[in-house]
């Protein structure tokens, strides 16, 4: 199924969880925050949160800024 990750289209398996997606991308256990369709996905629920086709995910980190 197709989803959007950080603005780019991406093919992922059905029933994939947020945690599995982060692992696939290499961002599990990193200092990131995840938003799905404009709503926060709390870290404590990453393992249970199942992604659906068409979901828009944002994976966000802290960067230098003023």
């Amino acid at each position: 199924m197709q989803i959007q990750v950080n603005g780019a289209a991406r093919e992922v398996p059905e029933q994939i969880t947020v945690l599995a997606l982060l692992a696939e991308l290499g961002w599990a256990d990193r200092r990131v925050a995840v938003e799905r369709n404009g709503e926060i996905v709390p870290r404590s629920t990453h393992a249970q949160a199942v992604i659906e086709a068409g979901d828009r995910l944002e994976i966000i980190q802290a960067v230098g800024g003023g």
Binding site: R31, P42, Q61, A62, G65
Partner: protein
């Protein structure tokens, strides 16, 4: 009164440093950290952005270099043009680092980076209701600054001049009015260019200064970071000492009596 016993208190937490610095525009993380240390800053701002999915996962993260257990991380809403995006950004910040102290800025125009006050009020209202501690970037308008304080912002941060302009304190009289009416810490945020600018802000009675470009864009950022630290200290001490009144005519420093020449 000494500087050591004169903490800056924001949202109930005391800080020894009155210089808050941004972490943008440095050539690398090592320089960022060195500048923060040279500035003696305890509160540092960060921005929130998408991770680069193609980047080297083992590359250091900003927070590895500036650990949150050592510094107070102040996530900003830079780049937001709507209250909605600013609120989203703050919610992501709270999720990312459990940070509820945030720097709210909602920009209204890309050329001046002046805040969109209508959007900023709206965002502040929502964020305060959600339990965020809001330090708000504002125009240097006494009514606006007073309104933010009454709404429950923990600090109000009027601009001295446009962000990144280095033009210095353009309206000291407005700042004086804002400071006279202040019920929360007032920090000058944006527009200072060099150490004398921060000294002027502190002499006026500002509680602190937040800056980024003035250090990062200096030829020698680390030396400028130190200069800014000293400028803040000098200005604060001068404010506490209370300057002499300005007079139109001279007043001799040496005794007028006891001269031995006719």
């Amino acid at each position: 009164m000494t500087i050591q016993k004169d903490p800056l208190v924001i949202a109930g937490r005391a800080y020894q440093s009155r210089l808050l610095v941004g972490t943008g525009k440095y050539k690398d993380f090592a320089e960022t950290r060195a500048a923060v240390d040279a500035a003696g800053a305890e509160i540092i701002t960060v921005a929130l952005r998408r991770v680069n999915l193609g980047q080297d996962k083992d590359a250091p993260n900003l927070l590895d270099v500036l650990p949150p257990d050592r510094f107070t991380i102040l996530p900003n809403t830079a780049g937001c043009y709507t209250a909605e995006d600013a609120v989203r950004t703050c919610r992501l910040a709270r999720e990312l680092g459990d940070w509820k102290l945030v720097k709210l800025e909602v920009i209204g125009d890309p050329q001046t980076l002046y805040p969109d006050m209508r959007q900023t009020y709206e965002a502040a209202k929502i964020l305060i209701a959600e339990g965020f501690e809001v330090m708000v970037y504002s125009v240097d308008d006494p009514v606006a600054c007073k309104t933010f304080a009454e709404m429950g912002c923990v600090a109000v941060m009027p601009l001295a001049a446009p962000i990144g302009s280095g033009l210095g304190i353009r309206n000291p009289y407005n700042l004086r009015i804002i400071l006279e009416q202040a019920t929360v810490p007032i920090l000058v945020d944006a527009g200072v260019g060099t150490a004398s600018d921060v000294a002027v802000a502190m002499e006026l009675g500002c509680d602190g200064v937040l800056l980024n470009t003035a250090i990062a864009a200096a030829k020698d950022p680390l030396l400028m970071a130190e200069a800014m630290r000293l400028g803040v200290d000098a200005g604060r001490k001068a404010f506490l000492a209370g300057r002499m009144p300005r007079k139109l005519y001279a007043s001799a420093s040496s005794p007028v009596d006891g001269t031995f020449f006719e």
